[in-house]
Symmetry: C2
Subunit: 339 residues, 2 copies
């Protein structure tokens, strides 16, 4: 092969790397963490999952029911430095996914958000520095830190202009990870996720993604509400996000850098809603944007993730329509475990 970019299949062929690799996933019972855990178990990794199971967050024991006998699960909070030290020691790779993700909650309780997304991240890095300095960390960040885009698509050079407390603290979390990479020689890189969706996402409320409440309504046979509708977005199916997290950990030359992750297409909320309605044989209503959301709304957003695609060989494999069908099918079977 003459092309310098690794093809997805070639990268997959390298995956035996994960065999017996000692991996820690913080937020491991959550939507993305648990999905990553399933994949890593299939790849033969030695997987330790940490989750606080704070009811308002994404952790759910049902998410790992099928693999519970093949992973180690530790219920504790990343804010607890004593527990975290035991979790971190001896691990080769940390997928650091634990966090407070609700934008509204970050405005009503900004200190809690700072404690989890700022202070606890700094503590985790200090523990790594002192007790596991050779560890390799992949930190999950969010496109929310860009705020209202100055230009589209948004690449990694775009200024960071967070529009909520959550965004401010996620910026700090990113900066800490990159700083500890640069100063202390930990290996650390950052993936800025956009709207991730799929099986195991929180559907009880909109704390993780507005798609959650849409999907729940579809499965419960109710019409769902779309706020606005013209806003453009990109969406990543969770299996593709898992691919991307693994790809980032597998790629050389990415340490100390932050990368955007996008989706397979750019689409308006109205068209997304239409795809979901079709997938679920349901319908939706367009509503005005509520005032308390409007003030932190960012208009259109979609990522330029070409840098990450080029370096890692990652590309999305699940089209939005297909991902939404799989998601609806999952919740038709399992909704009761998510309410």
């Amino acid at each position: 092969m003459t092309d310098a970019t690794p093809r997805h299949e070639d990268r997959l062929a390298l995956r035996p790397d994960w065999q017996k690799r000692r991996v820690l996933i913080t937020g491991g019972l959550g939507f993305i963490g648990a999905s990553l855990a399933h994949r890593l178990v299939a790849l033969g990794a030695d997987v330790l999952l940490v989750d606080s199971l704070v009811p308002e967050y994404g952790g759910n024991p049902f998410n790992v029911q099928e693999i519970a006998s093949r992973v180690r699960i530790n219920i504790s909070d990343i804010r607890d430095p004593y527990s975290m030290r035991h979790m971190i020691e001896g691990r080769e790779v940390i997928f650091n996914l634990a966090g407070q993700t609700s934008h509204m909650d970050s405005m009503t309780d900004p200190f809690n958000d700072l404690e989890i997304n700022g202070l606890a991240q700094l503590r985790l890095l200090e523990i790594c520095r002192h007790h596991n300095p050779g560890v390799h960390i992949v930190f999950a960040s969010t496109r929310q830190i860009y705020g209202k885009p100055d230009y589209l698509p948004v690449d990694e050079r775009h200024r960071l202009n967070p529009v909520d407390v959550n965004g401010v603290n996620k910026v700090a979390g990113e900066h800490y990870h990159i700083l500890y990479n640069n100063v202390y020689g930990l290996r650390s890189s950052v993936l800025r996720l956009t709207n991730t969706y799929g099986p195991r996402m929180r559907v009880k409320d909109a704390r993780q993604t507005f798609l959650g409440v849409w999907v729940r309504a579809v499965v419960e046979g109710r019409p769902f509400e779309v706020w606005g509708g013209a806003q453009l977005r990109d969406f990543t199916y969770v299996d593709d996000a898992v691919d991307a997290l693994l790809a980032l950990a597998e790629t050389d030359g990415v340490d100390g850098q932050a990368f955007n992750l996008g989706g397979d297409c750019v689409i308006s909320l109205r068209d997304t809603a239409a795809l979901l309605a079709e997938a679920g044989n349901s319908r939706f209503e367009i509503r005005e944007f509520p005032a308390d959301r409007k003030r932190i709304d960012i208009g259109d957003y979609y990522a330029d993730d070409s840098l990450f695609r080029r370096l890692s060989g990652w590309q999305p494999r699940v089209p939005l329509a297909e991902g939404l069908r799989r998601t609806v099918a999952f919740y038709r079977d399992h909704l009761r475990h998510y309410l």
Copy 2:
């Protein structure tokens, strides 16, 4: 006058604005805070100074000795929300200068830095939001948040790439101020200071600025050490920094924005040292950069502050050589109060 840019003299003519204005300065016994207090007292403002007098920081009662009977001084910590609520209520303008400024201390005790430069700033803004929502805040930030420049001079569009924990937390502090401006309607703007120097700066050690230890050595009749020497920098004499803080508070259309502040010239450390040596009739030695500083060194830095100059009419009035002469003269008289 046909020019839309206010001339400095015209802006000064507007200064009666400050008469009886209720002003709070956090870090008010520190280097810049106390210098600002002197000016505001002269302008007839009703000045309240808050300072923690943490020994490692810049607060020093001697800094306000001459004006002690004309200001109100409250010794308390910005981390203390009960005290801060009483300080903030009823104030019209807050110059928010309190902070941990030592880059090395932020690396040895990152949590302390986060508490002061992150958490306490968020608390201050929450207090303002709930108890003084009409307040006008000027927040002092630092050029350190840009890290090692991608290009020179550094303008406000330059990406933020902090190279120490202090920089990460100062970014968060800025973002909180801008966020609370945008979301809650407080008026808040940010001034990114470069190397500020002059009478009342900390000279006991390099926690505030390396110039402090240089000046101390000069006054004590010892040669001072220059690390490296080729690095380019800009310096702001403290009276010019005070001018700039007032100008930012006086200028319309700056809310929710962050501005660079530069100096009157760009100069190497070696040439700065030569100016100081001449001012103090002293000499200096060039040394290799110590390893623990090297890893957080940023190379050359100087600001493009044309945006701030254009909007506010500010310009520096004290050339570096003159500022250094005044500084040496001050410490020849008062060094004992700063050791």
